[in-house]
Symmetry: C2
Subunit: 337 residues, 2 copies
Amino acid sequence: MPEHRTSRQVNLVSRPDGEPVESDFEVVEVEVGELDDGHVMVRNRFMSVDPYMRGRMNDAKSYVPPFAIGEALAGAAIGEVVESRSDDLAVGDHVVHPLGWREVALVPDSQAQRAPEIADVPLSAHLGVLGMPGLTAYAGLLEVASFAEGDAVFVSGAAGAVGSQVGQIARLKGASRVVGSAGSAAKIRHLIDDLGFDAAFDYHDGSLTRQLRDAAPDGIDVYFDNVGGDHLQAALHALTAGGRVALCGAISVYNDTEPAPGPGNLTLAIGKQLTLRGFIVSSYDHLREPFLDEVGGWIADGSLRYEETVVEGIERAPEAFIGMLAGANTGKMVVSL
Amino acid sequence: MPEHRTSRQVNLVSRPDGEPVESDFEVVEVEVGELDDGHVMVRNRFMSVDPYMRGRMNDAKSYVPPFAIGEALAGAAIGEVVESRSDDLAVGDHVVHPLGWREVALVPDSQAQRAPEIADVPLSAHLGVLGMPGLTAYAGLLEVASFAEGDAVFVSGAAGAVGSQVGQIARLKGASRVVGSAGSAAKIRHLIDDLGFDAAFDYHDGSLTRQLRDAAPDGIDVYFDNVGGDHLQAALHALTAGGRVALCGAISVYNDTEPAPGPGNLTLAIGKQLTLRGFIVSSYDHLREPFLDEVGGWIADGSLRYEETVVEGIERAPEAFIGMLAGANTGKMVVSL
């Protein structure tokens, strides 16, 4: 039996109560099983840890069903086809697919997407800047928030995979001002010095409303919300008439065990005629082609930068996930398998 | 000096602290003054009391400046031109204008709109079903919330001027289900028996989330929010994927002295891909003509009904306003002068 016939995977042992802890997860070795017709066997090289996965760990109705206890987690991964019973995919192809959190996956070819070859871009980028987080940033800013040249843009979680790309796309598309918030002085410097943000602040440094007013004295036209909670409240204060909010994530409350109160100033949306729109990236597949063209070009010519925080080894995937929720990453957090 | 050269008006004496009380207001008699070129003198017949006026009584930045202490309040009124120095308006014309809360007003003709004559419709209807509240309902449902035939619609404050019209327009435009909330058993009966709502409930009768689920077991596609607070939270639970919310008013919090917490479940908007959009009717003047055509037609053929609660005499205007905020009205609350 070849080496890849067994695989380590990460199972969910218990549903996290608040912040996940390592004992909520277990790394086990399993038999890979038989390859069905129309499937490929993929040796995963990188797997993604993303904020939305926290929601699937609860036993709650959401837009995706919850993870099952005692079974492997799942999420985006990129790997190499090592065996194929598909007419479309061949051994050696690199594919992105939704069966991460394991070393070897049996993937129906309908769920495996061949990763376009882009010079000087590592495989892991297909989980970040050229993957789901990248498309989330692109679609959320340009379509959900209807960004237009000259808009002042605020993005929270700005040093994360999605946020860092939102700010840069806004800059490259002619924003009048790009402001971000993040959770450390080093991240703030990174946003301003490396990514070209006009201003950035650390959300630990006191009133968000005041900090945002200082960072964007003329207000903001677009808020890209990765965080929820107090950040949304501060943004509602700062938004100008006709302003738009893309509701993308709420990482500040994902670990909450009680519902957090919503923004106490939501009624400002009436007089300012604001639009708040929630979205999930799977509804924006129609933008994948322009997204890859445009962002691929910006990466190639160096005008858009991206960072990755790479954790080595499947046994450290739970640690990577827990760290990502706490802001341990700059840019996209991935696990190398 | 002719009788109309003096006028009683209602001044704001003090900014209400929470619920307004009669002593916040004062009825005084004043000289009307000289009629400038381009102005008309209007003997007001009816004045409007509307929820948004509560906001203007606070000393707070809003989309309209606050009322000044010691000066007359203002708001929509309809009256008869009794003197004219305008080329466009003649003595005897009926005009709608923004200088209510007084018996006689000197109005620039640019701010006075001739009321179209519609058979069997009283003058006061131009402050309600055919006026600003009517256009608010029409624009908010059809344009802000992008209502489409087959949508299930929930409207709060459903027995009020705006709400009662929202529900009926939804019914007449082919809603699959129309649900309303209001504050008394009599209002609930009125909504179902007189206005053709499919279901309605009294917000005093326990959990709004449960009541809304019972009233709309398959969920709602559109929520027209006149109330804010808990109603919005219940609606977020009930909204289907792609649902839309028109944020029109928040009468439940207008008298609050502390900011009320927002809906604790706003993050549902992400996964359900909801759109929440605030609006003010002054941005929807472009719909006035189709609104008057369509709603005028429905009134004429009896398919749209409207109620008015009429309070007699300017000295009772503060009482009418306070009562309207507390839900004393069914349909539009007006003061006959």
